[in-house]
């Protein structure tokens, strides 16, 4: 299982010289399985470059898993090259709302006035699936999803093989319902991340920034570290970078994460566009 980060910025794309080090594209992560199957997590603007890479590789079967439908996790889908190739089969998985299917929810982004074309014009073979309670299985990988704390229907993912595990929680505010003093089963996404070798977790804010944004659905760097500690996770990759944070600010955030880390815990690192993590 190999994890490649194509976009790790939160909320809105932030191109420019101040963000070129860690990247300005919004959430998109590729997971490559042994047989070459491409799993894509979220469709932020990072998916545009990934789409070009998949087209160049000739990948024709793609599974896209959406954590939720906030624009920074969906806006790249319309510019995902495989979508415009009739030879491609794209399976899209994501949370339904209490009253609407995933299909109906996504179609709103594919119609005027938000987009000039209608989804019926898409040539790829696209199927939408509401995420099920049972884990999804493919090529020795199990993918589990569960609702997590973030405004609106939002899930996190856990991918697991016989030898490694990876939790993807790009938008997550577990502190809103408590982290410290709680057993993992009472922590939002506790089971998804429990004992995971790698956790990509929301760390949008410094602690002092978080105080003014409680309830917005994102974590401070301290909460990201505390969450990983509470669920006994391994390596923490700080994800969903605040749009106003320059590369320099992000490096200060990483320093802060390392200050909060205790002896014996692995050092957190910043997610960066182009980062590849091989989990074996």
């Amino acid at each position: 299982m190999r994890v490649t980060i194509w976009g790790c910025r939160g909320s809105v794309p932030t191109p420019g010289p101040d963000t070129v080090g860690y990247g300005g594209n919004t959430s998109c992560v590729e997971v490559t399985l042994r047989d070459g199957t491409a799993l894509v997590l979220d469709a932020g603007t990072g998916i545009r470059a990934l789409g070009l890479a998949l087209a160049a590789r000739g990948t024709r079967r793609i599974h896209l898993f959406l954590t939720h439908l906030h624009f920074d996790h969906l806006e790249g889908l319309r510019f995902f090259a495989p979508l415009w190739d009739e030879r491609v089969t794209l399976e899209v998985w994501g949370p339904r709302s209490p009253v609407q299917s995933l299909h109906d929810r996504i179609l709103r982004a594919f119609s005027p006035p938000l987009f000039p074309l209608d989804f019926r014009d898409v040539p790829a073979q696209v199927t939408f699936h509401d995420l099920a309670a049972e884990p999804w299985q493919a090529d020795g990988v199990s993918l589990s999803a569960a609702l997590v704390l973030h405004p609106g229907p939002t899930v996190g993912f856990r991918l697991e093989t016989h030898s490694s595990s990876f939790a993807y929680l790009p938008d997550h505010e577990p502190a809103l319902a408590g982290i410290e003093g709680r057993s993992p089963d009472w922590i939002s996404a506790g089971a998804l991340a429990r004992g995971a070798d790698l956790v990509l977790h929301d760390a949008q804010y410094f602690e002092q920034e978080y105080d003014a944004k409680i309830g917005w659905g994102h974590s401070s760097v301290a909460h990201a570290v505390a969450f990983c500690r509470a669920v006994d996770a391994g390596r923490l990759v700080l994800f969903h970078h605040e749009p106003s944070h320059s590369d320099r600010a992000l490096e200060q955030l990483e320093e802060r994460a390392r200050e909060l880390t205790r002896s014996g815990e692995s050092s957190p690192v910043l997610a960066r566009e182009g980062m590849v993590i091989d989990l074996g």
């Binding site: 949370p95 339904r96 709302s97 209490p98 509401d130 884990p135 589990s144 569960a146 609702l147 997590v148 704390l149 229907p153 856990r158 697991e160 809103l176 319902a177 408590g178 993992p184 089963d185 009472w186 922590i187 939002s188 506790g190 089971a191 998804l192 429990r194």
Partner: protein, 134 residues
């Protein structure tokens, strides 16, 4: 996520309900979809006379039994008239006024409102019961 972890993980709706209840000054309890009491708040601890941390998860019916629920006419209150049982079995909201014997041995008249919690696709994840002391 293995089967045991799936079983142990509390649904997000229960996690949010617990956080809500823990900030209320009204006695409130939460049970999961399996009929297990999974939390009661500090206000309820004062009525029950026992901290939740000491009680732990337990079948709701077992936990409620010592309160000896009776109608306001002092007759036994059948289980199918108890709001918690109605919310759990029939998945609908219910409200009832009745008598209980508290942990201190004093008989008190209370009102109980219980309602089911549904998540996506009408998934039943548990109930909330609120005790209004008269």
């Amino acid at each position: 996520m293995d089967t045991q972890q799936q079983h142990r993980q509390k649904h997000l709706v229960l996690i949010l309900a617990r956080e809500f209840a823990s900030n209320l000054s009204t006695p409130t309890l939460i049970a999961d979809a399996h009929g297990r009491l999974v939390f009661y708040n500090e206000a309820a601890e004062a009525v029950v006379g026992r901290r939740y941390a000491d009680a732990g998860e337990t079948p709701l019916d077992e936990w409620l039994a010592p309160f000896e629920a009776r109608t306001t006419a002092s007759g036994p209150l059948p289980p199918d008239r108890r709001p918690t049982r109605i919310a759990f079995d029939e998945h609908r909201a219910s409200h009832e006024r009745y008598l209980v014997t508290s942990a201190d041995g004093v008989e008190r008249e209370i009102e109980v409102t219980a309602f089911p919690l549904f998540a996506q696709l009408d998934e039943f994840v548990g109930i909330v019961a609120i005790f209004w002391r008269s």
